[in-house]
Symmetry: C2
Subunit: 462 residues, 2 copies
C-alpha cells in the first residue's frame, strides 16, 4: 500500500500557512484559465516590477563566473564592482561552488558585525551571527531549540506572520497570542503581554520567548522606542528570550519615525540576562531579493554551548546557499561614496524607497475612503491589515475568495494572521506598481460595497 | 536569566552530525594555528581544486545580471549560452530575485521530468517533483511527514550517511539500522533487512520506510539491479516507503557497472503500491556545486493529498534558492551536440570523471597496501570506508584524532556512520588532487603502523 494521508504526522497536518494557502491556490488556478491576477498575498517585490539593485547583481555575476573578469573588455563593469568581486572571491577562497562553514562565510559575518556597529553604535560578534537561507530558516532554528513539546509556549503577536504559528505547530509547541492594539496603530501593551503570559501559566504552559515583528507584518506599523523597551523589560522580568524579526528595518516611511533595533536598546539598558535573537533578510528592505534566500540570525546573551546547538542544526543542512550569502554581504556593504557605482546605487535605492512610501500612502488613503474599511497608518514594512465591517455570519475567508473571483485581486484573510474575536481583516501588500495599486484600491472599494449589500439583503431575506 | 543549555530540547541535544563534528572543529583550530590540513571529511569537490563546469557558471552569471547581455560585445559568451540564459529568463518570468512556486520553477521541474524519461525510459510527472536546497532538504521534508514520534521507525543502512540518523533523531523517530555486508562489497541482504524489521516489530516500533543510498555514502559501492529489486520487493511485502538517495548517480567508475535508479525498476516491475521518494543534487556527480544548494525530490506512488503536505512544508520556507534551481536545470540540460558550448562541456565532464575514477583507485589500492587496513572496492560515489585493525580498547575516534594531530589529515571516525560491533572504520573522501592523495595514502600508512605499534606496546605494558 502507498503512504496514506492518515499516516502523516499530526503536527505536519495541523500546520497552516495562509500566505500560500487555498486562496492562493485558487488564484493560480484562475490564472491558468487566463484570468489576470494581481498578487497582493505575498511580499515579493520583484514579481511586481521592482528592479534589483545593480550593485548586487553585477558583483554576483562576476562571483559566479570569475573567468569573465579575465576575458571582458575594460569598462564593461565599473572598477569598484570588479574590485569588490575580487575581494569576495579572495575571501570565499573556493568560490560559490563549495560548502561554506556551517555558520556561513566568516567575511560575511564580519561585515554584518560591522554593519550592526555602524547602525547601532554597539559591539557585535561575528561568531554570534549565522547566515541563513532567508530569515525564515533562522526563525526555524531558534524555535526548534526553544520548543521541546506542548508545554513550551512562544508569545506571538495577534496579528502575526504565519511563519511563527506554522513553525510552532510543526515543532509541537504552544502558541501564546498577545494582542496588538488596533486602536493605537497596532502598538504592543504590557497588559496584553501579561494577559497572554498569565493564561499560559494557568494552562501549565511554560512561556519560553516573546516574538516581535518590527516593523510589523501584517500590521505595517513601526514600534517606537518605548514599545521596544516595554518588550525587553517584560522579557527580563518574566525570564523570556526575545525573537526580534527586523527584516523590514529599512522600510520605515513616515518622517520622524525611526527603526529602533532590539540589540541597540538591549545594550543601552545593559541587560546581560535577556537572550536576544534578531533576524534580517535580503528579501525585503530596498533589495527585495526574495529568490536569493539570503538572511542572518544574530544572537546576544546566548551562552556558547547553546550557540553550538544552533551550529549543529545548521551543519545538518550543511550551509546557507552562497549566492544568498553574497547578497547578504552586499546588502551590508554598499559602494563607497565617490566610487564608480555610488551614484547609481543611491539613486536606485532612493527611487525604490520613495515609491514604496508613496504606495503605502495610496493603500492607506484608498482603503480608508471606502465605507466599512478601516486601515491604520501604513508607516512601515510592505503591508496593510485593514479591518472590514462584514454582515453577521460572513467570514473574511468568504470575503477574500469573492474578492478574488470578482476582481482578480489576491489578498489573504485576517484569519490566517489572527485577529481580535468578532473582527474581520485582510492583509494586502503595498507592492503593485502605483497605477495598478490605484486600480486595486478602486476595485476593492466597488467590490466591498456590492459584497456587503448582497449579504445584507441575504441576511434580511432569511 | 539567559537561555541555558538545559532548556534546549532533548531531541536537538541528542542529534549528532559527525561529518562536521568535533574532529572537524579540531582541524579548523589547528588550521587557524597555521597547520596545513587536508580535509577528507566532507564531499566538497570545489574546495579541493575541482573546477565548476563552465556551461553552468556562464549561464548563471547571465541570469543574475541580464543587463550584461545588452551591454557586452558579441562573442564574449558562446551563442548557445546566451540563448539558454534568455530562455531561462523568459521561463522564470521575474528573474532570480522573486520567490518561485513553493515546489520550484515549473520549467525546471519539467526539464527534470524530461531528464528522468531520457535516463530511464519511463514517464515522470513535473507535479511530483520538488526543487530543494540540496538533497538534504528533500530528505528532511520526507522524514518529517513520515515520523510522528518514537513509535515510527526508519530503516537506515549501517554504515549510513549521518544526515539520516541526525534527522530521525531531530524528528524524534527511531533509527532501525540494517547492515550492509562488508564481506561482499557492502551489498544489501534480505536477511539483514528482515532482521532490522523484526527487531522493530518486537520493540513495538512501526517501520515506515527504508532508506537506501546508491551509490553508497560512505560505502563507495554501487548496488546492482538485483540489490535494487531486493529492496523494492522487501518494501512492498513489508508495506514500507522507499527513500532512494541517488545523489551519486553519475559517480559510477568501474567499467561494466551501471547505475540502476529505483524509479526505473519500480516502473519495470509495475509496482503501484510502493511509495518512492528519490533525491538528487547538484553537489555531487560531475558538477560538485555544493555551495549552490540545488537538488530535487521526486515522488512516485504518493497520493496527491500527501504531496500537498510536502508542498505546504516547502511553502513555510517559501522556496528553494533560485541559483540552485538554475544549476539544477542546467545539470539536466547540457549543451546540444554541435552547439558552441558542447565540446568544452564534454571535455570538462570527461576530465572530471576520469580524475575521480583515478583517485578512487589511488585510495583503494593505497589503503589496501597498508597492513591492518582493509578497503572494499571504491566503485562509486566519492568515499572509501576502510576497516582498520586496532589494538583492543582503542576507538576509531582516538585513531582519527591522532591521525589529524600527526598528519593534518581530517577523516571521520566510523562511529559517526555506524559499523558492525567490534569493528573500526573511518570515512575518507577520494577528493584531494591525485598528487596530494598519494601523499595522504602514504601518510596514513606510516601513521597507522606507528599508531598500532604504540598502542600495542601500551597494552603490553599495562
Amino acid at each position: 500500500m502507498t503512504i496514506q494521508i492518515g499516516d502523516i504526522g499530526r503536527a505536519v497536518r495541523e500546520t497552516a500557512y495562509a500566505v500560500r494557502g487555498p486562496i492562493v491556490a485558487r488564484a493560480q488556478e484562475l490564472e491558468r484559465q487566463g484570468r489576470e491576477i494581481i498578487y497582493c498575498n505575498i511580499g515579493n517585490p520583484q514579481a511586481l516590477e521592482q528592479k534589483p539593485l545593480t550593485w548586487i547583481r553585477r558583483i554576483l555575476a562576476l562571483c559566479e563566473y570569475p573567468e569573465l573578469m579575465e576575458r571582458m573588455p575594460e569598462g564593461l563593469f565599473p572598477a569598484d564592482a570588479v574590485e569588490m568581486a575580487r575581494r569576495i572571491l579572495r575571501d570565499m577562497k573556493y568560490g560559490t561552488g563549495a560548502y561554506t562553514d556551517s555558520k556561513g562565510f566568516l567575511f560575511v559575518r564580519e561585515a554584518i558585525a560591522e554593519f550592526i556597529r555602524r547602525r547601532d553604535g554597539i559591539e557585535a560578534d561575528p561568531e554570534a551571527i549565522y547566515l541563513t537561507d532567508g530569515a525564515s530558516k533562522g526563525v526555524r532554528a531558534v524555535l526548534s531549540i526553544l520548543i521541546d513539546g506542548k508545554r513550551d509556549g512562544i508569545l506571538i503577536p495577534t496579528p502575526q506572520y504565519p511563519l511563527y504559528s506554522a513553525t510552532i505547530t510543526l515543532y509541537e509547541g504552544t502558541q501564546l497570542p498577545y494582542p496588538l492594539d488596533e486602536a493605537s496603530g497596532w502598538k504592543l501593551t504590557r497588559a496584553g503581554l501579561e494577559r497572554a503570559y498569565g493564561e499560559a501559566i494557568r494552562a501549565n504552559v511554560r512561556p519560553r520567548a516573546v516574538c516581535v515583528i518590527n516593523p510589523g507584518n501584517p500590521s505595517g506599523a513601526v514600534l517606537d522606542e518605548e514599545n521596544v523597551a516595554l518588550v525587553l523589560d517584560f522579557a527580563r522580568e518574566r525570564n523570556l528570550a526575545v525573537l526580534a524579526d527586523e527584516v523590514y528595518q529599512e522600510n520605515v516611511y513616515r518622517p520622524g519615525d525611526r527603526f529602533v533595533s532590539f540589540a541597540s536598546l538591549l545594550e543601552r539598558k545593559g541587560y546581560r540576562d535577556v537572550s536576544l535573537f534578531s533576524f534580517h533578510s535580503t528579501s525585503k528592505g530596498l533589495l527585495g531579493e526574495c529568490g536569493q534566500r539570503g538572511g542572518y540570525l544574530e544572537c546576544r546573551n546566548v551562552p556558547p554551548e547553546v550557540m553550538d546547538e544552533i551550529t549543529k542544526l545548521q551543519s545538518v543542512s550543511l550551509c546557507a546557499n552562497t549566492a544568498g550569502q553574497i547578497v547578504t554581504f552586499l546588502m551590508v556593504t554598499p559602494p563607497r561614496a565617490g566610487a564608480a557605482s555610488y551614484d547609481l546605487h543611491q539613486r536606485e535605492r532612493r527611487e525604490i524607497f520613495e515609491s514604496l512610501a508613496r504606495r503605502a500612502q495610496i493603500i492607506e488613503r484608498g482603503l480608508n475612503a471606502v465605507e466599512g474599511i478601516h486601515c491604520n497608518p501604513v508607516t512601515g514594512a510592505m503591508y496593510a491589515f485593514p479591518r472590514i465591517d462584514l454582515p453577521p455570519g460572513v467570514s473574511d475567508e468568504e470575503y477574500c475568495l469573492a474578492l478574488l473571483e470578482e476582481t482578480g485581486i489576491c489578498v489573504v484573510p485576517g484569519t490566517g494572521f489572527g485577529q481580535a474575536p468578532g473582527t474581520a481583516h485582510f492583509r494586502t501588500t503595498t507592492l503593485p506598481p502605483a497605477e495598478k495599486l490605484e486600480q486595486v484600491v478602486a476595485r476593492i472599494g466597488a467590490f466591498h460595497a456590492g459584497f456587503v449589500a448582497r449579504h445584507a439583503r441575504r441576511a434580511t431575506a432569511l
